[in-house]
């Protein structure tokens, strides 16, 4: 996992997952009678596989079985480097598994330790995510929960988008949907929001790089200013990427920088009954008047300027 200095993040892994499940959906958007697209085949594959994942027995002490882990779904990104990087990140950091020297998984929960990188949290992230994938795909295709795979065209084919929102007390997956028209099969979308605990890196107090030490480096947002991917004050929300492919985007609008106020020393000597109450800090803007709009780079959890591509097996 990278530094992830923002509360709301997408990043490379989720972009690739979207590309895996949405690839070719433009055909249905453009032609309502079109039935299949590459992403649909993978949704069917993932849906069947994840149903198997949640049907597995799970031991409260030994945890999930390595056999049939959702990580073994053959449709995950297949580019060797990306695939292995994502595999390692999800296995170790999201699910809290260890990868043995021979590449196999140790899935046993660690006693009294956080699950993966999630601070202060123990949970079965794999099982939650497998359920989220099942629900999201079913909703996107207009299937009732548990329905068998459609033999003909699914009632609808909505694109699926993913984000994760960190620093929540426990791990949740939110499946949301919007229908834009009942007359067209692809006129709608599913947006999945993973609400996750925080990981061991602070969220930046400022959405733009600020060079406090005058060393031309911002330790929290390691990106170049206005480099085409990260942008301050972006103007145009482009519908396509640099290669002319349909694309998406994300902007964050907030104060330029924040500070913490009112952190007092409660041990300052005082008279009888005159206590200094403990005060959690108030977060306040450095400049009350200044609001910025920022397009975070993928490195910081934003969206690539150029659409990442699913690489077919």
């Amino acid at each position: 996992m990278g530094l992830m200095p923002y509360h709301l993040e997408k990043g490379h892994f989720l972009l690739l997952l979207e590309d895996t499940l949405n690839e070719g959906i433009e055909a249905v958007v453009d032609n309502n009678s079109a039935i299949t697209f590459p992403g649909l085949t993978r949704r069917y594959s993932m849906l069947e596989y994840m149903r198997g994942v949640v049907a597995r027995p799970c031991d409260p002490v030994l945890g999930e079985s390595e056999i049939g882990s959702s990580l073994m779904w053959p449709g995950w990104m297949t580019d060797a480097d990306v695939g292995f990087g994502a595999f390692k990140a999800v296995a170790k950091e999201w699910f809290g598994y260890r990868i043995r020297p021979d590449g196999t998984l140790d899935t046993k929960p660690q006693p009294n330790k956080p699950t993966g990188m999630w601070d202060g949290y123990q949970g079965n992230v794999e099982r939650i995510m497998a359920n989220v994938f099942i629900r999201a795909i079913e909703v996107s295709l207009g299937m009732d929960h548990g329905d068998p795979l459609p033999s003909a065209a699914p009632p609808r084919s909505w694109p699926i988008y993913f984000f994760f929102k960190c620093q929540q007390p426990f791990f949740e997956g939110w499946v949301t949907w919007q229908c834009h028209s009942l007359n067209r099969r692809a006129a709608g979308q599913v947006t999945v929001m993973f609400a996750t605990p925080g990981h061991n890196h602070p969220v930046s107090d400022h959405p733009v790089p600020i060079d406090n030490n005058h060393d031309n480096v911002d330790d929290l947002i390691p990106t170049l200013r206005s480099d085409g991917e990260f942008l301050e004050e972006p103007v145009t929300a482009y519908a396509h990427d640099t290669l002319g492919e349909p694309h998406q985007g994300v902007w964050v609008i907030t104060h330029r920088d924040h500070k913490r106020l009112n952190v007092f020393d409660t041990s300052v000597p005082s008279a009888y009954l005159e206590w200094g109450p403990p005060l959690l800090p108030i977060i306040a803007p450095e400049d009350f008047r200044e609001v910025v709009t920022v397009q975070p780079a993928a490195l910081s959890g934003g969206i690539n300027a150029e659409k990442p591509r699913y690489i077919a097996p």
């Binding site: 046993k108 006693p111 041990s267 300052v268 009888y272 206590w275 109450p277 403990p278 959690l280």
Partner: protein, 160 residues
């Protein structure tokens, strides 16, 4: 010194701390003050006497807390254990105490309070979620788990 008079000593300092705590924590915790013995903990420095009182106040959160973390926290009914160390600085060494309340009003005593507020916030639930939650939902894991830890995840399988 008459029968009602006494010198200001460690025992008197402890009573002063108890009143100081009851007057503030007692406003929102229905609880009990306990002094924890750390031996003879008095010393003299410049023109003052110091008395160190280690204490614990255990009770139930039954009242509104104002100005606590900038919020007004409604009663959670959580059980809360507050621990702290108060140094009582007597700026009039040798003073005779007839009525402790009069001494407290006289301004000759100064309190240096070192309190584990982090644990209080955690027990009330304002730290983790930013909103109160019942104590049953809080897994509190002190360092010496075998002595005081509540039963929880993995306790049945300590070797796993």
């Amino acid at each position: 010194m008459t029968e009602k008079e006494r010198s200001f000593d460690l025992g008197t300092a402890s009573e002063a701390v108890q009143k100081d705590i009851a007057g503030v924590l007692g406003a929102f915790l229905d609880g009990k003050f306990e002094r924890e013995d750390i031996g003879t903990s008095t010393w003299r420095s410049d023109d003052s006497e110091f008395f160190a009182i280690r204490w614990r106040f255990v009770g139930k959160h039954v009242g509104f807390i104002n100005g606590f973390g900038h919020t007004r926290i409604a009663p959670t009914q959580n059980n809360v254990s507050v621990s702290g160390l108060t140094l009582v600085q007597n700026r009039k060494p040798g003073q005779v105490v007839t009525d402790l309340d009069e001494v407290l009003k006289s301004g000759t005593l100064v309190f240096h309070r070192f309190i584990d507020w982090l644990a209080v916030f955690a027990q009330i639930g304002v730290l983790h979620l930013g909103r109160p939650m019942p104590i049953d939902d809080i897994r509190f894991i002190p360092p010496q788990r075998s002595l005081s830890r509540l039963p929880g995840y993995n306790d049945e399988h300590p070797d796993t």
